[in-house]
């Protein structure tokens, strides 16, 4: 039986063999691998790109104080982007399952409709949740739009839920019982995060300060967006800090999720705050595409 990290090695090796850049996780808090610039920005524009990376993804509202065997505040996704998607993309994906030791002839695999949409990112796509013996192990999406921009080269996004997948492979009922490496369980590595962040996210995060921080990062982002638009010098424009602008979007998104977990956002406010974050994401996508287009010209 492979350990958690051995399974990861195999998946990374598999996509390495298929020409993907193997990236390390992004170092700003995100709710999903999709939000990393390696996906959100790279899927825009005409340049082919293949990348795979593990992304620890924070969803404050999903925290369960480490007491639920299947729900985590922070879970790990293996995110694969194949841009453009190859014709045999589903076969390649199924091949990756075989590569980590799943004999698909002995299991039940189904592709069930599940279209993905992120209102905060102005992004959506068409796809499936992949069910293995009734367990959702992967979200598969053909992106159609990102940051409000229609995509020229439709990428396939394959998102593996690593805890679920390895719990399945190891036949354990709780993610905390997954063998991370020989003699070390998932709980040994991660349980403390789950307990402490649940307490913080649900009970202690200072709501007023979170709102202020959201405002600050939003202001920073808006200021940068405005400066980009005001910049006339093509050289300065080509080295304009678009990537730092996008970091501000990620900060806002994470703060929104924290406020949501704290129950600080009412239903009526919710739509408004989502729109604030989306405007930043869409704005940043626009200037990134513009900058890329300028560099190509």
């Amino acid at each position: 039986m492979d350990t958690f990290q051995q399974t990861l090695f195999k998946l990374k090796r598999y996509w390495d063999e298929r020409g993907a850049i193997i990236q390390e996780p992004y170092d700003v808090e995100v709710g999903a691998g999709t939000m990393c610039p390696e996906t959100f920005l790279r899927v825009l524009g005409p340049k082919p790109y293949r990348v795979a990376y593990v992304q620890p993804s924070r969803r404050p509202a999903d925290g369960r104080y480490g007491e639920n065997p299947n729900r985590l505040y922070k879970h790990q996704q293996l995110q694969v982007i194949l841009k453009p998607s190859p014709d045999d993309v589903l076969d390649q994906y199924l091949g990756s399952l075989e590569a980590i030791g799943i004999d698909l002839a002995k299991h039940d695999i189904k592709f069930e409709e599940d279209n993905w949409e992120s209102p905060t990112l102005g992004a959506w796509g068409i796809g499936w949740q992949v069910m293995l013996d009734g367990l959702e192990i992967t979200q598969f999406t053909y992106f159609q739009q990102c940051g409000g921009i229609d995509l020229e080269l439709v990428p396939a996004e394959i998102t593996y839920g690593l805890e679920r997948l390895t719990a399945f492979l190891q036949g354990v009922e709780s993610v905390y019982d997954i063998q991370w490496t020989r003699g070390v369980k998932y709980a040994d590595v991660r349980l403390a995060d789950e307990q402490q962040f649940s307490v913080y996210n649900f009970e202690m995060a200072n709501v007023d300060r979170l709102w202020r921080l959201l405002g600050e990062h939003e202001a920073e982002c808006k200021e940068l967006l405005a400066k980009y638009d005001a910049e006339k010098d093509p050289v300065k424009k080509s080295r304009f800090p678009v990537l730092p602008t996008y970091d501000q979007v990620l900060k806002c998104s994470n703060l929104f999720n924290l406020l949501d977990a704290r129950g600080a956002i009412s239903v009526t406010e919710r739509v408004g705050v989502i729109k604030r974050v989306r405007d930043l994401a869409v704005g940043t996508a626009r200037i990134w595409a513009d900058q890329q287009g300028g560099a190509a010209a």
Binding site: A105, K106, D108, G134, Y142
Partner: protein, 678 residues
């Protein structure tokens, strides 16, 4: 020679619920007179047909040329343009004419031209592009291969870079990914490669297997699984009986909606700790799939138990203030405001204390974790929690049932309290939406108002309610709705009835809307003829029980010999009165009768009137029908338009009295008789 046709559009997995719609469109495909047979699995849409012609027939086309009077020069010019010699033209009457032979074309070529359009022209609820960006071809999922055969030949075309051919793919894991097929062996080759093409066969296979494993039949789930599998096989699994302590509705919902499992009952209404799953593969010899599914279900049930426990930390009644934060509709305010309106409505509709309590609590399950997770269980969760928290059974039951009936097939709430609450909830939604102009039109009905109205009608009719429609609308007037947004001036004009007469406009629209649903109900669900329904409702609505009683009587009397001729006479009377613009202010005067037929009819009228009063509707209608001979004689011998104005008015008065007196059960002029062209 006639040829067989095969088209297989090979795709990535199509959402199950869209497949029947696509097949219905493909079944209308024009195949040169051959009948298309369609079928599908999630990965392939298939059209087959037998006996297509090799070529379309040659045809003669007549092209009109210049007039003979224009001379031969004009005709020669015309001939040149058409690419023929002048001698090919003939003079027909005053014009030149060209009879052109248009040769038929090979059906193979015609199909090669038309199939790409046919395929890409299929309508889907949502499509995607996958190659060539936004301007590229759109389909429901990427097309990966195409088999297109006419006889032994490939019909050549390409879509999205995929060339048509004669090679298909089998089951993703059990079959080959490259199978050469012919129109003859296509289906059997697929079967060898673990694809059952026939959806009917898959449906039967699932039904038989899940039945044998003791599953509770579920039509919708059966359809879903039929179109989510290429080779379905059922397996049985189990779960810890300790989970049976959770509400059965929750367990079933988890199994059915989240996992697409059939539930199993140990006896009717009692869940057993088992489930039946349908795999998309041929078997599970090592039990791996079963164990995997059992583990998933256990985790799901754990979640449900977590939600249940968390939700019990706050009772429903303590959640009432939380409803202020849940929006019902932007202009109509929060669910707290809706709750307050529904409580008042329940009171006005004569609801007892239990019904009022249920109204107060009925929306309190919306902010619970369980309903956030299982939206379809709204109401049901509220009812279960109310019972768990010690609310009286009447209250719990009313909450549990208050979204009923969910469809025309669904039953109405089982208790009086539940019926009153369901009525009030639906009426509040209806009047609120009508008051702010959210009126369904065509297929647009985002608030499911038709379903709400249909529910109101069904409850009124089947609950034996003593509430008359008119009274109901008075209580549930749109004018009672306080919108969050201050009404504009035009709203005020409408609400005060200044625009339009009688009821305020939204009330009239709502009444029309409900009347439509009432007609629909008695026609489609109860099976009365449309003209009978129109006739009865034209005489007023009242309670629906009364409407139904009058309908029953009318339907019973209608086949008797006097009825339809009398109905025709009543229509005649109604037309005569209309044409005469008769003003019914005059009192009948016996002394003005000139003909025997007049006084006979009058005497008969008085006799029938006495008989009909206090009689059952059927007896009354039978009595009215017995008027026919006298009415016939009247029209045979009496001229209504007498020269003497007073005699004429007197005759019109007699007819008018007759019509009004006997139109209280049904308006006979609405009955379509054999003499009508309608």
């Amino acid at each position: 020679m006639s040829l067989d046709f095969l088209l297989e559009i090979g795709t990535e997995e199509i959402p199950h619920w869209m497949i029947p719609g696509a097949l219905a469109q493909l079944a209308k495909m024009d195949l040169f007179g051959a009948a298309p047979e369609v079928d599908a699995t999630p990965r392939r849409l298939v059209v087959r047909a037998k006996g297509l012609p090799e070529r379309t027939p040659d045809q003669e086309q007549v092209v009109k040329g210049p007039p003979v009077s224009a001379g031969e020069k004009a005709a020669a010019g015309f001939a040149k343009k058409q690419g023929v010699e002048l001698s090919a033209m003939t003079k027909v009457g005053d014009y030149y004419e060209l009879r052109k032979q248009v040769p038929g074309r090979a059906v193979l070529d015609l199909l090669a031209e038309s199939l790409p359009q046919t395929i890409l022209g299929l309508q889907w609820p949502k499509t995607m592009f996958w190659t060539g960006g936004k301007t590229g071809p759109r389909f429901i999922r990427p097309i990966r291969w195409i088999v297109a055969l006419l006889g032994a030949d490939v019909i050549p075309f390409a879509i999205a870079g995929v060339k048509s051919g004669s090679v298909t793919k089998g089951h993703r894991k059990l079959g080959s990914s490259s199978i050469a097929v012919t129109t003859v062996n296509y289906e059997s080759e697929l079967r060898k490669n673990f694809v059952i093409l026939s959806s009917e066969e898959r449906r039967r296979k699932i039904e038989t297997e899940v039945g044998a494993l003791g599953a509770k039949f579920d039509h919708e789930l059966l359809e879903t699984l039929t179109f989510i599998t290429e080779y379905p096989t059922a397996i049985k699994g189990g779960f810890d009986p300790a989970y049976l302590a959770l509400p059965a509705e929750v367990l079933t919902m988890v199994m059915r909606h989240h996992q697409k499992y059939f539930s199993v009952e140990s006896e009717p209404g009692k869940l057993a700790p088992h489930f039946v799953a349908v795999m998309n593969t041929s078997g599970d010899p090592e039990g791996l799939v079963q164990r995997g599914n059992e583990r998933v279900l256990k985790a799901r049930f754990n979640d449900a138990r977590f939600f249940f426990d968390v939700d019990q930390q706050k009772t429903l009644v303590d959640r009432v203030p939380d409803l202020a934060h849940v929006t019902f509709q932007a202009k109509l305010g929060s669910y707290l405001e809706k709750t307050n309106r529904v409580v008042t409505l329940v009171e006005e509709l004569g609801g007892n204390a239990h019904a009022r309590r249920a109204a107060l609590l009925c929306k309190c399950d919306l902010p619970t974790e369980m309903v956030k997770e299982f939206t379809d269980l709204q109401g049901i969760v509220g009812g279960l929690y109310a019972r768990h928290q010690g609310e009286p059974e009447e209250v719990a039951r009313a909450i549990y049932d208050h979204y009923k009936p969910l469809s025309m097939e669904d039953s109405i709430p089982s208790t009086h309290e539940g019926q009153i609450l369901a009525l009030a909830d639906k009426l509040d939604t209806l009047r609120g939406c009508f008051a702010i102009g959210l009126i369904p039109s065509g297929s647009k009905d985002p608030f499911a108002l038709r379903r709400a109205a249909q529910g109101v009608v069904k409850i009124l009719a089947e609950g034996g309610s003593a509430l008359a429609l008119e009274l109901l609308l008075e209580v549930a007037s749109t004018a009672q709705v306080q919108t969050v947004r201050p009404p504009s001036q035009s709203d005020t004009l409408v609400a005060t009835g200044i625009v339009g007469g009688g009821l305020p406009l939204p009330d009239r629209q709502l009444k029309e809307f409900l009347l439509d649903r009432i007609k629909y109900y008695f026609r489609e669900i109860r099976g009365y003829k449309y003209d009978e329904v129109n006739a009865v409702l034209a005489s007023g609505c009242g309670t629906l029980a009364d409407v139904e009683a009058r309908l029953t009587a009318l339907a019973a009397v209608r086949p008797t010999e006097n009825f339809e001729p009398l109905a025709a006479s009543f229509k005649r009377i109604s037309n005569i009165l209309k044409q005469a613009a008769f003003d019914p202010s005059t009192v009948l005067d016996d002394a003005l009768f000139e003909e025997a037929a007049e006084s006979d009819l009058h005497i008969e009228f008085e006799r029938v009137r006495t008989m009909a009063r206090g009689a059952s509707y059927q007896k009354a209608l039978e009595a009215v029908a017995s008027l026919r001979p006298k009415v016939d004689t009247f029209f045979d011998t009496v001229l209504v338009n007498a020269k003497d104005e007073r005699v004429r008015i007197n005759r019109l008065t007699l007819l008018h009295n007759l019509l009004t007196e006997f139109s209280t059960i049904a308006d006979f002029s609405e009955i379509v008789t054999s003499g009508d062209t309608k």
